[in-house]
C-alpha cells in the first residue's frame, strides 16, 4: 500500500466547460465538484449512495457522484445543478419545484432535480421500471412510475407529493 497519497490528472467537461484537475486519486467526483471546482450546489448527504443528494448527470445518465472516483471520468461530460439553470433562467424542472413547493430545507433538492430531469429522459428512452406493468410497452408517465424511479432520492422533509407534482407538470409539458 502506498504510504502517501497518489496523485492523478483528470480532465472533465463540467457544465460545458473543460476543467483540468490534479487530484489525490481517492477524490470522489462529488468532492472534486464541491471542494476543487467549488460547485457546491451538489450536496453530500450520506456519502454512501443511499440518499441521492449527490446525484449529477454524467454522459446523460444520473449517477451518485459520491460512489465514483473523479479520475474514472476522464473526458466525461458532467452536468450539475449549476449547469441546468441559473437564478435568472431556471430550468423548467427548477421552476416547477419552486411553483409546487417541492422542498422544505432544500438540501436534497439539487439531487432531486438532476434525478428528475434524467428520469424523464429515461422514460422517453423507454427504460422500464419495477412498476411498469408491461415490460414490452413504452413506460407511462404515472405518479407511481415517477415515485418508483425517484426512490433513490430521499427527502427528510418528506416533500414527496410536491416533488411528484413538479415532475408531473414538466413531464406533461414535454409530452
Amino acid at each position: 500500500m502506498p504510504d502517501h497519497a497518489a496523485m492523478s490528472d483528470v480532465s472533465m467537461v463540467v457544465n460545458g466547460q473543460t476543467r483540468k484537475l490534479s487530484l489525490d486519486v481517492r477524490t470522489t467526483l462529488l468532492d472534486a465538484l464541491r471542494e476543487h471546482l467549488h460547485l457546491t450546489g451538489t450536496k453530500k448527504g450520506c456519502d454512501h449512495g443511499q440518499c441521492g443528494a449527490c446525484t449529477v448527470i454524467v454522459e446523460g445518465q444520473r449517477i451518485n457522484s459520491c460512489l465514483t472516483l473523479a479520475v474514472m471520468h476522464e473526458g466525461d461530460n458532467v452536468t450539475t445543478i449549476e449547469g441546468l439553470g441559473t437564478p435568472a433562467t431556471l430550468h423548467p424542472m427548477q421552476a416547477a419545484f419552486v411553483k409546487h413547493d417541492g422542498y422544505q430545507c432544500g438540501y436534497c433538492t439539487p439531487g432531486q432535480i438532476c434525478s428528475a430531469v434524467a428520469v424523464l429522459d429515461e422514460i422517453k428512452a423507454g427504460v422500464p421500471s419495477h412498476v411498469s406493468a408491461d415490460l414490452l410497452a413504452p413506460p407511462t408517465l404515472t405518479a407511481m412510475e415517477l415515485r418508483e424511479r425517484m426512490s433513490g432520492n430521499i427527502c427528510r422533509c418528506a416533500a414527496y407529493p410536491n416533488i411528484i407534482d413538479a415532475i408531473s407538470e414538466v413531464a406533461g409539458r414535454k409530452a
Binding site: 502506498p2 497519497a5 476522464e74 433513490g152 432520492n153
Partner: protein, 316 residues
C-alpha cells in the same frame, strides 16, 4: 479511505497483468459497492485497475440462440435491452427490483455478481465478523439476524448474498466467462460461481485471485411465464427479505431460485419436480435442511406463501 494507486487498463490482457503484478490490486468497474466498502476501510486495495475502458459493454446474440452479456453492461442497459425484456423477462424484472436508478446506471453485470453481503455486522468494523476479519467470530449468530440466511449456513457465517440479478441468472442457468493472467479462459456455471460460507466466509465466489469476468452468457430462451417477486421492508430501494424468481411452463413444470435466504442464490433442481403439485410440496424440498434463527424463522412460511402467490399468478 486508505491510499492506493490507480491505472486504466486498455486491454483485457493488460488488466489481468496489472492485477497480477501488484500486491493487493483489484479491478474497479462501476465502483458502487467497492468504493462504499473502501470508504469504510472494509476493502483496502493497494492498487485499482480501472476496467471501464475495455470493450465488454455489449450484449450479443450467441450461435446457439442465447445472449452473451458483456461484463461491463450496466444494470439499466441490461434491464432495458429489448431481447432481455422479450426473452428473459425474469432478468429484467430482477434487475429493476434492485437498487436505485442512479446505482443501476453505474453498476455492471459482473460487479452485481461480485457484490458483498449487506450484513450489518460485516459493515460495522467495531464488531467481530468472520467474513471481514477471518477468525474474529460471527456477530450475527446470536445477534440481530432477521435478514440473515436460513439455508447453507455455517458456524462461521449466516450472511446472505444481496443480489437480485444473480437469482434470475441462477434460474436462467447463466454461465460466467473469465480471463486469467496466464491467458486462460474458463466458463463457470452460475451454480458453481457463488459459494457457501463453510469455514472460509471471507471468500464469496470460486473466482481465483486476479481472475477477470469478461461476460455472462445466457442459454437460449426457455419461454414460460417468468416472475420475480421480491419481498422487502420498503416498496422500493431496499434489499430483499426474501425473493422468488420463477419460470413456469404451461404444463406446470418450471424452475425456482430464491434470494435473501443463503450465501448464494438458492436453487434445488430436485424441488422443481414438485412444482406441478404446488407451492407447499415444492417449498418443502427447497427448504429442506433449513437452519433458521428464532428471528428469521418467519422466512420459511414467507417463502412458501410467496411461491404460492407466484404460481397462482403464473397460472393466470
Amino acid at each position: 479511505m486508505r491510499s492506493f494507486t490507480y491505472e486504466r487498463a486498455a486491454s483485457p490482457a493488460e488488466a489481468v497483468a496489472a492485477v497480477a503484478r501488484a500486491e493487493g490490486a483489484r479491478f474497479i468497474a462501476g465502483g458502487t459497492n467497492l468504493l462504499d466498502l473502501m470508504k469504510l476501510e472494509i476493502e483496502t486495495p493497494a492498487h485499482l485497475v480501472d476496467v471501464n475502458g475495455l470493450a465488454f459493454d455489449k450484449t450479443e446474440a450467441t450461435a446457439d440462440g442465447g445472449l452473451r452479456v458483456g461484463a461491463l453492461v450496466r444494470n439499466t442497459d441490461l434491464a432495458a435491452d429489448q431481447r432481455v425484456r422479450r426473452d428473459y423477462p425474469l432478468l429484467s424484472r430482477a434487475l429493476l427490483a434492485g437498487a436505485s436508478g442512479q446505482l443501476r446506471n453505474k453498476a455492471t453485470t459482473a460487479g452485481n455478481l461480485l457484490q458483498r453481503t449487506r450484513c450489518p455486522y460485516f459493515y460495522d468494523t467495531n464488531q467481530p465478523c468472520n467474513k471481514r476479519q477471518p477468525g474474529s467470530g460471527c456477530s450475527a449468530i446470536g445477534g440481530f439476524s432477521r435478514n440473515h440466511a436460513i439455508l447453507g449456513t455455517s458456524d462461521a457465517c449466516i450472511a446472505t448474498h444481496p443480489s437480485d440479478m444473480a437469482v434470475a441468472m441462477r434460474a436462467l442457468d447463466a454461465t460466467v466467462e473469465t480471463l486469467r493472467a496466464d491467458g486462460r479462459t474458463r466458463s463457470i456455471p452460475i451454480a458453481e460461481f457463488h459459494r457457501l460460507p463453510g469455514d472460509s466466509p471471507q471468500i464469496d465466489t470460486t473466482l481465483l485471485p486476479g481472475e477477470l469476468i469478461t461476460a455472462v452468457t445466457l442459454p437460449k430462451p426457455v419461454g414460460g411465464t417468468q416472475i420475480y417477486r421480491k419481498v422487502r421492508d420498503r416498496a422500493s430501494y431496499a434489499f430483499a427479505v426474501i425473493s422468488v424468481g420463477a419460470i413456469v411452463q404451461r404444463d406446470g413444470s418450471g424452475r425456482v431460485a430464491l434470494g435473501g435466504v443463503a450465501h448464494k442464490p438458492w436453487r434445488v433442481e430436485a424441488a422443481e419436480t414438485a412444482l406441478p403439485r404446488g407451492a407447499k410440496a415444492a417449498a418443502a424440498l427447497l427448504l429442506a435442511g433449513a437452519n433458521p434463527t428464532p428471528q428469521n424463522a418467519f422466512k420459511l412460511p414467507l417463502i412458501e406463501r410467496t411461491l404460492g402467490a407466484v404460481l397462482s399468478e403464473a397460472r393466470g
